[in-house]
C-alpha cells in the first residue's frame, strides 16, 4: 500500500508538469463540451481527438483523452438538468429529477450537486484504482490465452445482455464487429483476408472511422431527419449566485453520493456500459432506501446526486480492466486502448512495471482533472448553458465538418472518410432498427486479440477444446457467460411458471 502511495506521488510529479497540466485542462474542457453538445458523445469525441495526440508523448496523450472521457460525464448532466435532454446515455437518469429541480428554480443547486457528487465519487474511485490495480495486475499474470479468450467472450455476452432491447440483436452486432475485425492481415500468419486485392483493406478497417461513423455521423443523421427537433429549444440558464445548494440539500445528497460512488466503482470493474448501468442501479437504490420515495420523479436531491456520483465512479473504475488486463469492457475505453496501441503502449499486467510513468501519471492526472472539472463546472455553468442556446441547425453542420476533418487527420486518407460515412449510414439504420452500436465497436477492437487468444490456446492444447474448461479461471468466465446467456430465458420461464401457478 505504501509502495502504491509512493508511486502515486511520482505520478503527480509527471502529471503536474506544465504540458501535462495544460492537456489535462484541455481534456476536461473538451470533455465537458462533448458531454453538452448534441450529436457528439464521449465515444465519437475521444475518437475524433485521437489524431490530435499524435505529436504528444503517450502519457500526455492519455491524460488528455482520459480527461475527455470523464469530463463528458460532468458535461452530460448539464443538458439533462437544463434541457431535459441527456448529453450522453449515462445522463438519462439525471433528467428525471434534475429537470424537475430546474423547473422548481433549483437548476443551479442541481448542477452544483452533480459537480460536487462527481468530484467526490471520482476521487474515491481513483483511490480504489490506486490500491486495487497493482494486486490485480499481479493476479492477471496467471492469465494465459484460454483465460483471455473466455474473459473476452464473457465481456461480449455481458455487454450484449445489458445494452439494447434484445440480447440476440446485440449478440449479432458483436459477431458483425468480430467479422469486420477480421478484414486485413491474418494476425498469426500475415495472409490477406477479405482485402479484395486492395491495398487500403490490407490495413484493416480503421476503428476510429467506425466509431465516429456509428456514434457521431449516425447521431447527426438521426437528428437531421427530424426538422422540428432542430428548432431552438428553451434553455434555463442559472445565475452564478444560485449555484449554492442549501445545507439540507447537501445533507440529503451526502449519503447518496457515497452510495453512488460504491455502486459505480463496483459496476465499473465488470464488463458492460458501466456508467449507464451504475446510474440506473444508484437511482433504484436511492429510491428504495429513501424516506421520501414519493419525491422521486418530482425533483429529489438524491435522484440527482447518487446517479451522477455513480457514473463518474464507474467511468474511473473502467480504467482498471483496461490498464490491468489490457481489455476494455466498454466502447470509450476501447477507443482509449486503440490510442494506447497507436502510441506504442501495450496495456496489460506488465504495464504498471514497464510503463509506470504512463500508468501513475494518468492516475494522478485524474485527481487533478476531477478538481479542474469541479472548478470549471461550478462558475462556468452559465457559460456552458449558453452554448446550448446555439441552434442544432448550426451545430450539426459544425460537428459534421469536425468529423470529416478529424477523420482525415488520422491517416491523411480520404478512403477513411468514406468508411466513416458508410458506417454513419449503417449507424443511422441501426438506430432505426433498434440495433446497438456498442457491442459492434467493442468486438471490432477486441476481435484480433480474441482470435489470437483462441488460436494460441488451441495450438497449445493441440486442438483440444478442453483447454477452455480445464483451467479454473477460464471455466469461471465461461460459467458466467453461460449464466448471462441463459438468465433472461430462465427468468422468462420462471415468470411464466409463476403466472400459471398463481391462483386465478
Amino acid at each position: 500500500m505504501l509502495e502504491s502511495l509512493q508511486l502515486l506521488f511520482e505520478g503527480f510529479a509527471v502529471a503536474t508538469t506544465t504540458v501535462n497540466l495544460s492537456y489535462c485542462l484541455v481534456g476536461a474542457i473538451v470533455g465537458t463540451l462533448v458531454g453538452i453538445l448534441p450529436g457528439l458523445g464521449p465515444i465519437a469525441g475521444i475518437a475524433l481527438l485521437v489524431p490530435v495526440t499524435f505529436g504528444l508523448n503517450p502519457t500526455t496523450a492519455l491524460i488528455m483523452l482520459a480527461g475527455i472521457y470523464y469530463g463528458s460525464m460532468y458535461g452530460g448532466s448539464t443538458t439533462s438538468i437544463l434541457l431535459n435532454v441527456p448529453g450522453e446515455t449515462a445522463s438519462v437518469i439525471t433528467c428525471i429529477d434534475g429537470y424537475q429541480m430546474a423547473q422548481k428554480g433549483k437548476a443551479g443547486a442541481a448542477l452544483a450537486l452533480c459537480a460536487i457528487g462527481s468530484f467526490i465519487a471520482g476521487t474515491l474511485a481513483i483511490m480504489g484504482l490506486v490500491f486495487l490495480a497493482p494486486p490485480l495486475a499481479e493476479a492477471a499474470l496467471a492469465f494465459g490465452p484460454a483465460e483471455y479468450f473466455s474473459l473476452m467472450v464473457c465481456g461480449f455476452v455481458v455487454l450484449s445482455n445489458v445494452t439494447g432491447t434484445s440480447l440476440l440483436k446485440s449478440l449479432m452486432m458483436a459477431v458483425v464487429g468480430l467479422i469486420i475485425g477480421t478484414v486485413g492481415l491474418d494476425p498469426v500468419t500475415g495472409d490477406a483476408r477479405f482485402a479484395f486485392d486492395t491495398a487500403y483493406l490490407l490495413g484493416g478497417i480503421e476503428f476510429v472511422a467506425v466509431a465516429i461513423g456509428l456514434f457521431g455521423i449516425g447521431e447527426i443523421l438521426s437528428n437531421v431527419e427530424r426538422p422540428q427537433e432542430l428548432l431552438r429549444q428553451q434553455v434555463i440558464v442559472p445565475r452564478l449566485k444560485d449555484l449554492y445548494p442549501t445545507l439540507q440539500d447537501l445533507r440529503r445528497a451526502s449519503g447518496a453520493i457515497l452510495r453512488g460512488a460504491g455502486i459505480g466503482f463496483g459496476v465499473g470493474l465488470v464488463p458492460g456500459p458501466a456508467p449507464v448501468i451504475a446510474t440506473y442501479a444508484s437511482y433504484l437504490v436511492e429510491k428504495r432506501t429513501s424516506r421520501h420515495p414519493e419525491e422521486f420523479g418530482k425533483g429529489a436531491v438524491e435522484g440527482v446526486a447518487g446517479p451522477e456520483a455513480a457514473n463518474n465512479a464507474a467511468c474511473q473504475a473502467a480504467f482498471i480492466p483496461l490498464f490491468v488486463l489490457g481489455i476494455p469492457f466498454a466502447p470509450p475505453t476501447a477507443i482509449l486502448l486503440g490510442a494506447l496501441l497507436i502510441h506504442g503502449v501495450m496495456p496489460g499486467p506488465m504495464m504498471i512495471s514497464e510503463r509506470p510513468e504512463v500508468f501513475w501519471g494518468v492516475i494522478a492526472s485524474m485527481y487533478i482533472g476531477n478538481f479542474i472539472l469541479l472548478l470549471l463546472n461550478l462558475p462556468f455553468v452559465p457559460l456552458f448553458a449558453n452554448i446550448l442556446r446555439i441552434p442544432k441547425r448550426i451545430l450539426l453542420p459544425l460537428v459534421m465538418l469536425f468529423c470529416i476533418t478529424g477523420m482525415y487527420t488520422v491517416n491523411n486518407s480520404i478512403p477513411d472518410i468514406w468508411v466513416m460515412l458508410l458506417f454513419g449510414v449503417i449507424g443511422y439504420a441501426m438506430r432505426k432498427w433498434a440495433y446497438e452500436g456498442a457491442p459492434l465497436l467493442l468486438a471490432l477492437v477486441l476481435g484480433p486479440k480474441l482470435e489470437v487468444a483462441f488460436r494460441q490456446a488451441l495450438m497449445i492444447s493441440h486442438g483440444d477444446f478442453g483447454v477452455f474448461f480445464d483451467r479454473p479461471i477460464s471455466l469461471t468466465f465461461l460459467v458466467a457467460t453461460f449464466l448471462f446467456l441463459f438468465f433472461p430465458l430462465l427468468r422468462g420461464a420462471i415468470r411464466k411458471w409463476r403466472a400459471q401457478k398463481a391462483p386465478r
Binding site: 459477431v175 460515412l421 495450438m459
Partner: protein
C-alpha cells in the same frame, strides 16, 4: 420501424452477411483446430452469425408483437428530403476534398449544409461559413500543424 416484416428483413440481411462471410472464408486455407488457417475464424463467425440471425428471424416470426424496436414514425415526422440533401452535400464535399482543398471544402460544406437545414439569409449563411472555415483552418493547420489538402486555393 416496428413491424414484424422490418425486423425479419433486418435479420435476413444479417443472415446473408453471415452467409457471404462463410462462403468467402471457404476460399481461404481452413486448416484444423491445432493449426488454424486464415479462413477458420471468419468461417466460424459467419456460421455463428447465420445461426443467431436464423434464431432471431424464427423468434420474430413467432412473436405477435415486436418489443423494443423504435417507432420513429410516432416520435416525430421524418423529412427524407432534408436527410438526402444533407447526405448529398456531405458526399459532394468529401468527393471534392482533395481537388478543392480544405479551406474551400469547409466553406462550401458549411454553406450548403446550413442551407439544406433550412437556414435562410445569405449574409448570415456566408458569414457563418466563412468564419467556420477560417477558424477551423487556423485550428488544424496553424495550431495543430496538421497537413490538409491545399487544392485549388493553394493554402
Amino acid at each position: 420501424m416496428k413491424s414484424k416484416r422490418d425486423e425479419v428483413i433486418g435479420g435476413c440481411i444479417l443472415f446473408l452477411f453471415g452467409g457471404i462471410t462463410a462462403v468467402l472464408s471457404l476460399k481461404m486455407p481452413i486448416g484444423d483446430f491445432r493449426a488454424a488457417g486464415t479462413g477458420l475464424f471468419p468461417l466460424m463467425l459467419g456460421i455463428l452469425l447465420m445461426v443467431l440471425s436464423g434464431l432471431f428471424i424464427a423468434q420474430r416470426l413467432q412473436d405477435r408483437t415486436v418489443p423494443g424496436a423504435m417507432d420513429t414514425g410516432a416520435q416525430a415526422p421524418v423529412s427524407v428530403k432534408q436527410l438526402a440533401m444533407f447526405l448529398g452535400v456531405t458526399v459532394f464535399a468529401v468527393a471534392g476534398f482533395t481537388t478543392m482543398g480544405f479551406p474551400l471544402m469547409s466553406f462550401l460544406l458549411m454553406l450548403l449544409l446550413l442551407r439544406s437545414l433550412g437556414i435562410k439569409g445569405w449574409a448570415f449563411l456566408l458569414s457563418v461559413s466563412l468564419l467556420t472555415a477560417a477558424s477551423s483552418y487556423a485550428l488544424f493547420v496553424y495550431l495543430l500543424k496538421i497537413p490538409l489538402p491545399k487544392g485549388l486555393v493553394g493554402i
